[in-house]
Amino acid sequence: MTTTTTAAPETTTTEPLLQVTGFTKQFGEVLANSNVSFDVRPGEVHALIGENGAGKSTLLKLVYGMYKPDAGELRVAGEQVAVGSPTQARALGIGMVFQDLRLVPAFTVTENYALALATSGVTLRQGELRRRIAEASESYGLAVDPTALVRHLSIGERQRTEILKVLMSGARIVILDEPTSVLAPTEVEALFAMVNGLREQGLGIVIVTHKLAEVRAIADRVTVLRGGRVVLAGADPKPMTDAELIEAMVGQTVAALPAERPTVVSDAPPALELIGVSALGDRGVTALRDVTLTVNPGEIVGVAGVAGSGQRELCEVAVGARHPSEGTVRVSGRELGRGGPTAGIAAGAVDVPEDPVNDAVVPTLTVLEHMALGHLKAFARRIGLDWRRIGRHTMDINEKVQLRMAPAHRRVADLSGGNIQRVMLSRALGREANLVVAAYPSRGLDIATTRRTQELLLARRAEGAGLLVVSEDLDELMAVADRIAVFCAGRLTGIVPAATTNRQELGALMTATEATATDSTTEAPAGEATMEKAQS
């Protein structure tokens, strides 16, 4: 890899590229960061970990100039600076790749870059920009097509585009916020290869993640945040175990899930049957192709796949929120047909939606009112609804579920992401159901609550429900599920027993079909994975 724009590599100064000393930031009653110190040296990868709510994103936003610290100082290449805005941060060489990549889907790659790279003049000069992108793409070894419409790119490709953009802006310090949560194992390897390349060029890389294995694989040092404070500063992660890192993040040991689980025998009909199901996505593109899948009562089927492989549509089809264009969907033996969500609810399906804020939260309604939704007829009086009964019902659920849901009169729209998730989980897991479809159930939750959620899923399983659980965390799937169904580009590429599978096998299945656009930096996908559709 030849470099054209960066400084000479092999600089062995130990002067940090970025040094944070004593950052403190308070929001109202909440102390998000307290006396946090942190630094990044040239040619190193420094991992920043902590569970949801520990203060990682606040720290990043302070460094990137989106907030101002209440106290503390920041030095870039030895000089003290005050970063007032992201533009200033970029000028100082700090580049950030957000988790929700800040790209406009409707524009081409070039137009997105035009926004970021301040070119002078009135006209856009797209031709010149395209040339510059092609050059940079070559020199950094990151394949990016300047004319592609971002909407058509896969998540991995979008991430690459974003990283190249950051590099072209002249970043010496690259911050990656949860970069691997949406990638398949092979794409993760490609990302790490890229990161290694940048490290060799003398850049400093900060990687925020909660995936402990990755921390050991890629990071030179790790810093752990907990409750806004640094509890472990700049340690070498390689000799540390998962348990030690978790303990640092949580402050207690968190019990692992039971390894043994009862086999559930039931003569109830299958919780979910998908037979030859194809479905279109929101934009009219085929999202599911000829999927045949069964979830039996008393089992948990995990769903793995690169983001956008059809998981969203799968969950919607399973509960009747989306009509398949072909095939049959049966919940607990009852065919859903064109019945819509009503049929799904009547058949005993509940769901934890992938995008609760857009799909399940009603802005002006309280927690209590949300608990009533979906079962209005059950609570109906002659005129109106029996709110007293709904209130008692909610209390019962909360006691049973123990997820510390917000008070009943709070408006759900005012709650944080994690608290909204607790409401959704309580609602779905707090009552009996034949089929539980949970999409990313641990999103936004701290480790302890995540563990509790997983216990609830297992409890439902023991009671005879069938569960379909989508997660981007392969470790979670392997721990929770009985079988794991892997999707790629809308096709079911394999179903494997969770107890005996591993990341390599799952990763191969996740990328088994060449359906997406060119992705030339990854190696050819492993050919050993069997591609026959699993019957169950």
């Binding site: 805005s85 992201p86 533009t87 957000f98 800040r102 790209l103 406009v104 889907p105 409707a106 524009f107 137009e111 997105n112 035009a114 926004l115 970021a116 070119t119 003049g121 009135v122 006209t123 856009l124 934009r283 002006t364």
Partner: protein
């Protein structure tokens, strides 16, 4: 023997110009994510301002400038309400329209029936003599000729200039603007106010060039047609141009038929532009909503309060 088709088409161009200006203005505004139902008001305000300024100063070009200013000023009220004060876009637009209705009634009372030095049609030498195309395209007032260039100019600004990129980003994904250090509010203010200026110019064309008159509520729904037009032109300035001529034709049908003594009820003809608008929107169906800038789609799907 004059040709009905030529008359209608010529009327389509002349009469459609006002709608086109309004439509182009609304396109800019909606591309930035703000729908302005006050377009009708901006047109009306522009029409009166242009008429009054022409009457006072004697120059219709001064009038045209006044029209732009009035349209922009009214749109600015909507912009402040919606951007700074976060009011509901539909309610704000209609309020401004109503406000403009009152303003123009009050200040326009003394101009009803007054004649001015208007912008008369001017035949382009040579080109106006071409059979068919001549009278249709080259025998109009100067503001219509200007509009031939304004539409492609708006297209160029939106798609080939830096400013246009910012406007479109504000309408698709405004957080990206924030991250790159631009002010979404500023971009939207400029878009809405510039859009209002164009609407005002449309109103000006209506009063000082096309109708050569001022009377209360003289725009009669053209502004709302322009809003609908932008939707089914999928926010593309060139399609807006074509669509506005379509409506111009619908509007020109009535006088053309009447002049030839066809006894079709005038009110049935008056309703045609509105019915045609609804029909076209119905035919295009849900595809139009998919083509909308993302933030604008949220306005259409978002609720009151």
């Amino acid at each position: 023997m004059s040709n009905l088709a030529v008359d209608v088409l010529a009327g389509a161009v002349g009469g459609g110009t006002a709608i086109m200006y309004a439509g182009l203005g609304e396109t800019i505004s909606e591309r930035a994510g703000v729908i302005n139902l006050g377009t009708e008001g901006s047109m009306l305000g522009g029409a009166l301002a242009a008429y009054a300024a022409t009457a006072t100063s004697g120059s219709p070009w001064v009038g045209a400038l006044a029209g732009i200013g009035a349209g922009a000023a009214l749109a600015a009220v909507h912009a402040v309400l919606v951007i700074a004060r976060k009011a509901n876009q539909f309610a704000s637009g209609l309020t401004v329209m109503f406000f403009a209705l009152g303003l123009t009634s009050l200040f326009g009372a003394s101009y009803v029936g007054r004649t001015i030095h208007s912008l008369n049609p001017w035949k382009v030498p040579g080109l106006a003599a071409i059979p068919w195309l001549g009278p249709i395209l080259f025998d109009h007032d100067p503001l219509t000729y200007l509009s031939y260039f304004v539409a492609p100019a708006v297209w160029w600004v939106l798609y080939r200039s830096r400013v246009g990129l910012l406007v479109r980003t504000a309408g698709e994904h405004s957080e990206v603007l924030l991250v790159h250090g631009y002010s979404t509010s500023l971009v939207r203010y400029v878009s809405v106010i510039a859009g209002g200026g164009l609407c005002g110019l449309g109103g000006a064309q209506l009063s000082i060039a096309y109708s050569n008159a001022w009377f209360e509520n003289m725009t009669v729904g053209r502004g709302f047609i322009a809003v609908a037009l932008v939707i089914f032109a999928t926010w593309n300035p060139l399609r807006v141009m074509a669509g506005s001529y379509l409506f111009g034709a619908a509007l020109a049908l009535s006088p053309a038929l009447q002049a030839r003594g066809y006894g079709i009820n005038q009110f049935a003809l008056d309703a045609i532009p509105f019915v045609v608008t609804i029909l076209v929107l119905a035919i295009l169906g849900k595809r139009t909503l998919l083509a909308a800038p993302d933030e604008l789609r949220r306005v259409f799907e978002t609720r009151t309060t």
